[in-house]
Amino acid sequence: MANPLVEMRNISISFGGVRAVDDVSIDLHPGEVVGLLGHNGAGKSTLIKILSGAYQADKGEILIDGKVADIKSSRDARDHRIETIYQNLALADNLDACANLFLGREMTAAGFLDEPAMEAAARKVIGRLNPNFKKYHAPVSALSGGQRQSVAIARAVHFDARILIMDEPTAALGVQETKMVAELIQQLKKEGIGIFLISHDLHDVFDLSDRLSVMKNGKLVGTVRTQDVTKDDVLGMIILGKQPAVAAA
């Protein structure tokens, strides 16, 4: 098999003597969705913040395409085409979809915003991900949760993300909206993007993930192929830290 897109090897980090992440290794392949599960405080968010450049590991290394990557800031992460999508913090509510998509990376012509060019690009990328999207000129506060998620994902995709980190992507969404995000994720997989889905709720990610990595108390309980396990197996891993009967993937 080719090199994984991302490999985090033997990562450890401590805060004031507490080992938040203890010798954890996970990986992600192109076009694959890996669910990262665990209770609040299990260390999953800390682990992923090391990948997105918010923290730096005390020990261990990150490999991108098989090469060691030195990620010291969110800018470094962006240079490695790693994008993070936060559930609530990503969008400026008073701006429209287009303005949010390009926020911080606006196209300009002669010093002024080139709005038609940005709108054309926004229509292309959002339309590809979510053909039903119509409200290009409404502030994103007027959009549904799923539509907002479309904008956030389009933002990552438009700037050529290869590695997408999604934090609780469906936590606040209704049934229809969750379905919409699931379709978006399928679309991204087809394009060869690797996705880490972070959640404390198994039901949010079970059907979306190819593999599941479970953490407890800062340690990796195990990584399993979703098709090999039942939800109960995974719950056992989350709650009891128990390895399932099947072989680890």
């Binding site: 990503a90 400026a92 926020l103 300009t108 915003l113 060019a117």
Partner: protein, 421 residues
């Protein structure tokens, strides 16, 4: 109601701004009737535009401040100290060096005013952006500090007379650009509006975006073009008083023709300054990255930071812009009074904030327009001038202005709640 609303939507008309214009017309008609036809006259509207200029120029700067969810309570005091220093420079410092009435005096004094204002704004911005002191506190302190400094500049002595050319910036009897130039400015503005609309439509069609029907586009452009033309027409209808006209003719060495001299005022210089700044800052807010980041910071500061925007630097720049506009306003206000006294600009902070808020700036941040803020300033000044025209004293003017401020925000709240999202 829905039919009207969908018509507005098709025309892409800003309902809020339209509502304000209707309110303003109501106020004007009301005063006109109550004053037996003395309100809507070229003379009164000319004076109204002149009286509005100083507060309106500062209101332009207050808009981005409020959009990024800050406040500046120190603008009136900053205006005071800036006007005092500008007065001292042109009256006490420069004449002995350059000689009285030297043409460089007004230029140096005006530039100094803008720079001093920008520097004072920069101090506010650094304290808010980098030291993290809430803007309410920083500028409340500034309100006292700068007013105190305004007194210290001359130990309370009023500076007068100011440089003669400088006082033209305040729009006195001779401080206008005249009839012909007013027509030219208005026509240039109308052509620019039409050209911008044409260019926008052409680009949208090229990209295949939906555009409004041609008749609607044309109607909107015609109305927009009518504004500067109509404005110039009103100000050009105000004839310079005969005494002033005769004096001007003597000064310029003109011969007085048979049947007397008829000179029409046209656009006052401070109003032209206001219009130029309004256009420039509107473009800055709506058509540049800087403006986009201002709105983004007001909408979601954390998202703005994550998007790589340097929010601390932006905060400083927004306060510097406010300060520079206070500097311009200090020039206009002192030039109009032809003197600088240490109480100049007192309570202006309240009028400026009221103008911005009446004009649709949300104190919750993230929303506001320059056009709205200027309309807000015109509303406040109309109430004050109208009431003084009817012989009511300042105390009642304050009561009504205060009540209108609260009412305007309440109506806006109702409107926001009712709006389908």
């Amino acid at each position: 109601m829905n039919a009207v609303r969908s018509l507005f939507a098709r025309l892409e008309i800003d309902e809020r701004l339209l509502g304000m214009i209707i309110c303003l017309i109501g106020i004007w008609v009301g005063f006109h009737l109550l004053s037996d036809g003395r309100f809507i006259t070229p003379r009164n509207l000319y004076n109204l535009s002149l009286q509005t200029a100083s507060v309106a120029i500062m209101a332009i700067g207050m808009v981005p401040i409020i959009i990024i969810r800050q406040i500046d309570l120190s603008v009136g005091s900053m205006l005071g100290v800036t006007a005092m220093i500008v007065g001292v420079i042109q009256t006490f410092w420069l004449p002995p060096i350059l000689g009285g009435g030297h043409p460089l005096i007004w230029i140096i004094a005006a530039l100094a005013g803008i720079l001093i204002g920008a520097a004072l704004g920069g101090i506010n911005g650094l304290m808010v952006g980098y030291l993290g002191v809430p803007s309410f506190v920083v500028t409340l302190g500034g309100l006292l500090i700068w007013r105190g400094c305004a007194w210290w500049v001359t130990q309370g002595q009023t500076v007068a007379p100011l440089d003669e050319t400088f006082t033209l910036l305040g729009g006195g009897v001779y401080g206008t650009i005249g009839e012909t130039a007013s027509w030219i400015v208005a026509v240039i503005a109308a052509v620019a509006i039409a050209f911008a609309a044409h260019r926008r439509r052409r680009r949208h069609i090229a990209y295949g975006f939906p555009v409004r029907p041609l008749w609607a586009e044309a109607a909107v452009v015609v109305v927009q073009c009518a504004l500067p033309i109509g404005f110039a027409a009103v100000l050009n209808a105000y004839e310079m008083p005969a005494v002033a006209a005769t004096k001007l003719a003597e000064m310029k060495g003109w011969e007085i023709p048979e049947g007397g001299l008829h000179i029409f005022m046209g656009i006052p210089i401070p109003v032209l300054i206001l219009a130029g700044l309004a256009v420039a800052v509107s473009l800055l807010l709506n058509k540049t990255r800087f403006g986009r980041y201002v709105f983004a910071m007001g909408g979601n500061l954390e998202a703005a930071e994550r998007a790589g925007i340097n929010v601390k630097r932006m905060t400083v720049l927004v306060f510097v812009l406010m300060g520079a506009l206070v500097g311009v306003s200090a020039i206009v206000a002192s030039a109009r009074l032809q003197s600088a006294g240490n109480s100049i600009g007192s309570l202006d902070e309240l009028r400026v904030i009221a103008a911005a808020v009446i004009g649709g700036c949300s104190l919750a941040g993230g929303a506001g327009t320059i056009a709205g803020a200027i309309l807000g300033a015109v509303v406040i000044q109309s109430l004050q001038s109208g009431m003084s025209l009817l012989g009511y004293d300042a105390s009642l003017q304050n009561i009504v202005t205060g009540a209108v401020l609260v009412l305007a925000v309440y109506i806006d709240r109702l409107y926001q709640q009712r709006r389908p999202s």
